[in-house]
Every structure is written in structure tokens, then in C-alpha cells.
């Protein structure tokens, strides 16, 4: 290596061949893993300790609707990848289109989740009720008591924090779109798109785990 390369920048230094932003995002996501591990772990422990407070899948929760929502979020991960692939080729228009698609699908996910919350609350499934009389889709309004307070508490806390992460992600996507619209990204400068993608895929992955544990098991 030449002395010139030494002074040219950070590249020839010890350290990883990953730029700071990307490394920082990976490290941040590690802490996010621990955050959701804490919440999911608490849910698992409470459910094992008090099975009577929880119900079988599909009794209270609308699984088909959420399955569709899960499909939406997975689609948004695909569009995010397409956005990144577009800017790798220097395709500015492609980047903007795919980012816009990701924003719309991500916002739809949040919308469906809000709709789900409203419907569940309407059916009597609220975060702090003492007990739920299953109402609505499958049961008559004065049906048997299913579940207890812990079910609502854990359900809304876990899915709510995930929803907050998606919402923040959508806002960040809008910011990324705004920068893309100004033409700030290029095939040589796509760090912002890449770390946005990392975060988005992470949120998607968390949802797949949450969906499995909360809705399917």
C-alpha cells in the first residue's frame, strides 16, 4: 500500500470493510433484537404460567385478516429490495417508484392493523378487561368467557410496539424518498437506502415471529 492511500481516507485502516452507517445500523438492530426478545419472552412465560388467560388461535383474533397483513409486509420487503437493486444500477426513477411502493404497502400494513384494533376493541377485546366474553365472528355476544387480562395486555403491547416500529419505518422511508427525489443517491452513494432496507427487513422479520407466536400457536 502506498502512503497516498494511507492519507486518502479511512479505507486502509484496521476495522471492518463496512461503512460506519451500516455497521451502526447492524449494532442498533442487535439491541432491537434484545428489546423484542424481552417482550416476546415475557409473553411466553406468562402464557405458560397462566394458560387459562389465553385462547386458542382464531377464537378472538382474526387470523385470516392478519395473514393477509403479513403477506403485505413481506411484499413490502420485496419492493424494498427492488428499490435497492434499482439504485445499485443507478436507476433513479426505479428507486423512487419502488420506495413509493414500499411506503404505500407499509402504510397499508399500519392501516390494516389499526382496523384490526378497532374491530377487536369493538368485540370487547381491550388491553385491560378482566375477562373477555367472546363476541363477534365466531361466538354469540354472551358467549363463554375466554381469556383474561394478560391476553389483552400482552397482545396490544407486542403488536403495538411492532406497529410503532413499522410506523417509524414508514416515516423514515418518506424521508428516504424525499432524499431520493432530490437525487441524493447514486450507485456509489446508496448507504441511506441500504440501512433503510436493513431496518425494514428487520421489522418484517420480527413480524413473522410475532405472527407465528401470537396468532398461530
Amino acid at each position: 500500500m502506498t502512503t497516498q492511500a494511507m492519507t486518502a481516507g479511512r479505507a486502509p485502516m484496521p476495522g471492518m470493510k463496512v461503512y460506519n452507517l451500516k455497521l451502526g445500523m447492524w449494532i442498533f438492530l442487535l439491541s432491537e433484537v434484545m428489546f423484542f426478545t424481552g417482550l416476546i419472552g415475557s409473553y411466553v412465560i406468562l402464557r405458560f404460567a397462566h394458560p387459562g388467560q389465553f385462547t386458542e388461535p382464531g377464537v378472538v383474533l382474526n387470523v385470516p385478516l392478519t395473514a393477509f397483513n403479513t403477506f403485505l409486509l413481506i411484499c413490502s420487503s420485496v419492493t424494498m429490495v427492488k428499490a435497492y437493486a434499482a439504485i445499485q444500477q443507478g436507476d433513479q426513477q426505479g428507486l423512487k417508484n419502488w420506495l413509493l411502493a414500499t411506503i404505500l404497502i407499509g402504510a397499508s400494513f399500519v392501516g390494516v392493523q389499526v382496523y384490526e384494533y378497532i374491530a377487536l376493541v369493538g368485540e370487547g377485546f381491550v388491553p385491560v378487561a378482566e375477562a373477555y366474553h367472546a363476541v363477534g365472528r365466531h361466538m354469540p355476544h354472551d358467549g363463554p368467557v375466554v381469556g383474561g387480562q394478560l391476553y389483552g395486555s400482552t397482545f396490544y403491547t407486542m403488536t403495538g410496539f411492532h406497529g410503532a416500529h413499522v410506523s417509524i419505518g414508514v416515516l423514515c422511508l418518506c424521508f428516504t424518498y424525499w432524499r431520493a427525489a432530490k437525487g441524493e443517491y447514486s450507485a456509489d452513494n446508496l448507504g441511506g437506502v441500504e440501512i433503510m432496507g436493513l431496518y425494514w427487513h428487520f421489522v418484517d422479520l420480527v413480524w413473522i415471529i410475532l405472527f407465528t407466536i401470537v396468532y398461530l400457536i
Binding site: T7, G9, P14, G15, M16, V18, L39, T157
Partner: protein
């Protein structure tokens, strides 16, 4: 040029673009310079250190003179003190708040920001040869998140019901509902404040880890990094992984308090033990967050002031990593008395005792480092030696608690109070005194007054032991911690004279700290001007002016050797700065080629 290189060049340029004089608000208030942020953390957390000390003094008044009028008590509001004709007597509720807030403030707002906020920010970029942190603006955000957290915490004293009173561990169900403590809003503010502070620490940790991995100067291999930076690096990893778990638990407890959910409330089917598990899963790594940087600081000072290479550098690094790892599998030892399968208790006992191995490695290495060294007994060295000796006492008393049969007897007594103060005050705080004194010239360009520091050291080490040593005895005689008036128990009433003795020692100990405070501020203006390298140290921060300019290094430093090459027979002076090229180098070595991994590095 590849994307990565371009990003890196961009980042490198970013650190240098504003070397001109910044306006006041950018330079001192909303600064992105890691050295200024370090100083900001220092001033704020020293303020909290004083607050925490005063809370302890009030607590000790009640213990030394149970239910007697407290001097100056009339100045406090009726919610804290019961006025009588002779003066104001402390209320039990206020005592609970004092216990809780002393622990919370000292741990989260004094020791942790001093070690991580001050030394992490100050030392990491300087010791690895970086111009600043990887994300200077995030660094600023980290500090400015800590401020509202501190304000919320202090404000909780003023709200109805007073400050949180469920202990710094805030065990549910005591903390989950105001019915038990009478504290509603105060407990919620406590939870909100710690959640915000947690986010601040998290942002800082992301920054430290990225910086250490990616921003090292040419030649600064992993095994040429000073131990302070190593310790801060591992600490940052612990923060990164432990704090989110606490944040989740805090939020769930906050929901229990405000919304009426039932995570930790047994009356609706919640699990109080779940809180303990979550809290200590965070809490035990937190213990190492509070001691590892102190170990790093002590290693720097001991090696430098004994003018000897640190003994067993690699084993020191591995011990730091080992302690950091073992810290994750021992949390159950805080819960031996909470109801636990004895088999599980035994496994937690064994994993806890395993920590004695890396701790002992470090301790023996420190002793071997100073053994037959050219010991300079100036104040940083005195503080560092105090750290080692007090840490040994605290570490040994820790083994008592780790052993389940003994813990059953001494759990939740003053023995544990003695233990934690030997580790946190005798350990962490003495290392902080050592660190501030040692790096004071680098921070401010002036030396602290040596005589005043020695006076402070002498009084503090004596008074400190007078305060905390007898607490072991109190605990063994059955005095429980967090008790408002122990004299209500007949068998504890005879302990009153010893408690009074401890209290008097505490008042003197608190008063003694004013010597350090005076010295600190006096030296800012009147201290002797410091040279660039007043301690003849090897590490990179001493190769730049005191205080270092914005951007730290006028030229990119190139590192050729380890951080502790003192008294080398090859050198004319007794130290070898890390930037000294090898003596009599073969010609091809003159061309810097530090990126190629050397045998010492990886």
C-alpha cells in the same frame, strides 16, 4: 473508487470540515465534539453525585438518630418531614424515597454517566486515534436525552406523593401500584425517566462500538488498544444488549401503573417474579457496566505510574471479555430468596463463582504490574491503588452472597449494602477519581493540585472504610436494609451506637468531598499549566496538545507498538509512545504498512 471508500473519505472529511472557531452555542451547548460532550457528561453527573451524596446523608441522619429532628429539616416541605416543636422529623415515606432515589441517582445518573459518558467519550476516539466518534450528532443527542431524564427524575421529588419509593430495583408488586407505597406519579416519572435515559445510553453504545470497530488509526490493532478502551468497548456491548431488556420491562411496569395492565400484578394473574427476572437480566450486566470501565482506568494508571508494562496484557483483555460474557448467566443470584428451584439456584451459584476467576486474573495482574515497579505515588496512583484494594474486599464479600447457604442468612441485610458500596464506591468511584485526576490535564490543560488531592485521598479512604466496613457487622447481626427505624426491633436496638458512628463518618465523608470539588474548580483557573504529556504516557491521547484541538490529531497517527511499553531497555526515555517507529528499522519497514496484521494483532 468504491462506494465504501467514498463513504469513508466523506466521513473522514466530515470530521475536519469545521476547524474554524464555532459559535458559543455549537461549541459549548449543542456540541458534537466528543471531548466537549465528555465534559458535559462530567459536569452533569458530578452534580448528580453531589445530590446522591446529600440524599445518603439525610438517610444516615434517620439511621444514626432515629426519629429525632433533623437539622435543617424545617426547610423541607411537610410531605417529607413531620414538623414538631423541636424541629422536623423525617417521614417513613420520605425515607423510602431517599433509599430509592439515592440508589437510582448514584447508579444511573452519577457512576454510569461518569464512567461511560465521560470516559467513553473522552478516551475512545483519543486512544484509538480517531478525529471524533463515528456519529458525532448522535453523540450530542445521547447527551441531550440524558438531560430531560435527569430533570424528570429530580422533578419527581416535587410531585404529589413524592419520589419513587419502591427501591432502586422497583420490585413488583410494590412498584406496580401506588396502593402499596403511596407513590403514584413519582413512580411513573421514575419509569419514564429511566426509559429515556436508557435510550440515551443505547445511542451512546451504538456510537462507541462502531467507533472502536471502524475508526482505529493505522496500526492500531485490537491487541494494541489500551485497556481502558477495551473495557469501554465491552461495556458498550453490555449496554447495547442489556438496556433494551430493561426498557421493555420499564414500559410494561409503566403500563401496569398507568393503564392498569397486569404484567406484574398477581391479583390479575401477572407474575411479580417476571419483573425480577427481567430487571436482573439487565441488572447484572449493569453491575459490570459499572465496574469494567473502572478496571480499564485503573489498568492505565497503574501501569503508567509504576512505569512497567501491564502484566499479562492479553489475559487482561480476555478477562474483560470473560467477565462481560459471564455477566449474562448469573442474574439469578439476586433472586435466591425470591423462590427458586434449589437446583437452579446451585447452577447460578456456580456460574457466579466462576466470575471470581477472571476477576482474580485482573487483580493478580495489577499486583504483578506494580510489583517492583518504579512507583510514583502521586494522586492518580493512590486512587488507583485504592480501587484495587477496595475492589478486592468488595469482590470477596460478593462470594459470600453468591453462595446460596450464606445468602439465605445475609440476604437483604446491611451486608449487601456494605458489599455494593465496596464495589461501587471503593471500586468505581475511586477509579473515577483516579481517571479524572489522571486525564484532567488532557481535558483542561492544567494539573490538579497535588497536595489537596492527597489530602482528599487520605481522608476519603479512611472515612470511607469507617462508613462501610461496620456495615458488614450490622448485616451479620441481622439489620435489614431499607429500614426506616431499626430500633423498633428489640434485637436491633443495641446497634444504635454503631449506626451513629457510621452516620458521623458519612457526614465527614460527604464534607471531605468538598476538597475535591474545590480543587477541581480552583485548578480549572489556577492550576499549573500542563504539558502535552505530563505523565510520560504512551497512549495516543498524550501525543496531542492539552487540551486537544477540534479534530484531535493534526495528522493521522500511525501506531507501531502496544500501549504499555514502559522502562524498555531499548529506549533512552522510560516510555515509548505508541507512535514511535521501531528502532533501527529495516528499510522496508519505514514505509508504513500497519494494516497487515502483525503477529501481536489479529
Amino acid at each position: 473508487m468504491s462506494t465504501i471508500e467514498q463513504e469513508m473519505v466523506h466521513a473522514a472529511e466530515g470530521g475536519h470540515h469545521d476547524h474554524h472557531e464555532l459559535p458559543f452555542i455549537r461549541k459549548y451547548i449543542f456540541s458534537t465534539d466528543h471531548k466537549m460532550i465528555a465534559k458535559q457528561f462530567m459536569f452533569v453527573s458530578l452534580f448528580f453525585l453531589v445530590i446522591g451524596g446529600l440524599l445518603a446523608a439525610m438517610m444516615r441522619w434517620q439511621l444514626g438518630y432515629p426519629s429525632q429532628p433533623m437539622p435543617g429539616g424545617m426547610l423541607l416541605p411537610d410531605a417529607m418531614m413531620a414538623p414538631t416543636p423541636n424541629g422536623a422529623i423525617m417521614l417513613p415515606e420520605f425515607y423510602n424515597s431517599l433509599v430509592t432515589m439515592h440508589g437510582t441517582i448514584m447508579i444511573f445518573f452519577a457512576i454510569m454517566p461518569l464512567l461511560v459518558g465521560l470516559f467513553g467519550n473522552l478516551l475512545i476516539p483519543l486512544q484509538i486515534g480517531a478525529e471524533d466518534m463515528a456519529f458525532p450528532r448522535l453523540n450530542m443527542i445521547s447527551f441531550w436525552l440524558a438531560i430531560p431524564a435527569g430533570i424528570l427524575m429530580l422533578a419527581s421529588f416535587a410531585v404529589e406523593g413524592g419520589a419513587a419509593g419502591a427501591g432502586w430495583t422497583s420490585y413488583a408488586p410494590l412498584s406496580a401500584s401506588g396502593e402499596w407505597t403511596g407513590v403514584y406519579l413519582g413512580q411513573q416519572l421514575w419509569l419514564a425517566s429511566l426509559t429515556i435515559l436508557g435510550f440515551s445510553s443505547l445511542v451512546g453504545a451504538v456510537n462507541y462500538i462502531t467507533t472502536v470497530i471502524n475508526m482505529r488509526a493505522p496500526g492500531m490493532t485490537w491487541f494494541r488498544m489500551p485497556l481502558a478502551t477495551w473495557a469501554l468497548f465491552i461495556t458498550a456491548i453490555l449496554i447495547l444488549l442489556a438496556i433494551p431488556v430493561l426498557a421493555g420491562a420499564l414500559i410494561m411496569l409503566l403500563f401496569d401503573q398507568t393503564l392498569g395492565t397486569g404484567f406484574f400484578r398477581p391479583e390479575v394473574g401477572g407474575e411479580p417474579l417476571l419483573w425480577q427476572h427481567l430487571f436482573w437480566f439487565f441488572g447484572h450486566p449493569e453491575v459490570y457496566i459499572l465496574i469494567l470501565p473502572a478496571m480499564g482506568i485503573a489498568s492505565e494508571v497503574l501501569s503508567n505510574r509504576a512505569r512497567k508494562p501491564i502484566f499479562g496484557y492479553h489475559s487482561m483483555v480476555l478477562a474483560i471479555i470473560g467477565i462481560g460474557f459471564l455477566g449474562w448467566i448469573v442474574w439469578g443470584h439476586h433472586m435466591f430468596m425470591s423462590g427458586m428451584n434449589p437446583l437452579l439456584g446451585t447452577s447460578f451459584m456456580i456460574s457466579t463463582m466462576a466470575i471470581a476467576v477472571p476477576s482474580a486474573i485482573k487483580t493478580f495482574n495489577w499486583m504483578a504490574t506494580v510489583w517492583k515497579g518504579d512507583i510514583h505515588l502521586d494522586s492518580p496512583m493512590l486512587y488507583a491503588l485504592a480501587f484495587v484494594s477496595m475492589f478486592i474486599i468488595g469482590g470477596l464479600s460478593g462470594i459470600f452472597m453468591a453462595s446460596t447457604p450464606v445468602d439465605i442468612y445475609i440476604h437483604d441485610t446491611y451486608f449487601i449494602v456494605a458489599h455494593i458500596h465496596y464495589v461501587l464506591f471503593g471500586g468505581s468511584l475511586f477509579a473515577i477519581f483516579a481517571g479524572i485526576t489522571f486525564w484532567y490535564p488532557k481535558m483542561f490543560g492544567r494539573m490538579m493540585n497535588e497536595s489537596l488531592n492527597k489530602l482528599h485521598f487520605g481522608l476519603t479512604i479512611v472515612l470511607y472504610n469507617l462508613v462501610f466496613w461496620p456495615m458488614h457487622n450490622l448485616g451479620l447481626q441481622g439489620m435489614m436494609r431499607r429500614i426506616y427505624d431499626f430500633t423498633q426491633y428489640e434485637y436491633l436496638a443495641p446497634l444504635q451506637p454503631m449506626n451513629e458512628f457510621i452516620s458521623i463518618s458519612v457526614f465527614l465523608l460527604v464534607a471531605t468531598q468538598s476538597i475535591y470539588a474545590f480543587n477541581f474548580f480552583w485548578s480549572l483557573f489556577k492550576g499549573e499549566k500542563a504539558s502535552d504529556n505530563p505523565w510520560d504516557s504512551n497512549t495516543l491521547e498524550w501525543t496531542v496538545p492539552s487540551p486537544p484541538p477540534h479534530g484531535n490529531f493534526p495528522e493521522m497517527p500511525v501506531v507501531y507498538r502496544g500501549p504499555y511499553e514502559y522502562s524498555s531497555p531499548e529506549s533512552e526515555t522510560d516510555f515509548y509512545p505508541q507512535t514511535t517507529p521501531p528502532s533501527n528499522p529495516p528499510v522496508q519497514d519505514l514505509i508504513p504498512e500497519p494494516v497487515t496484521p502483525t503477529p501481536e494483532g489479529f
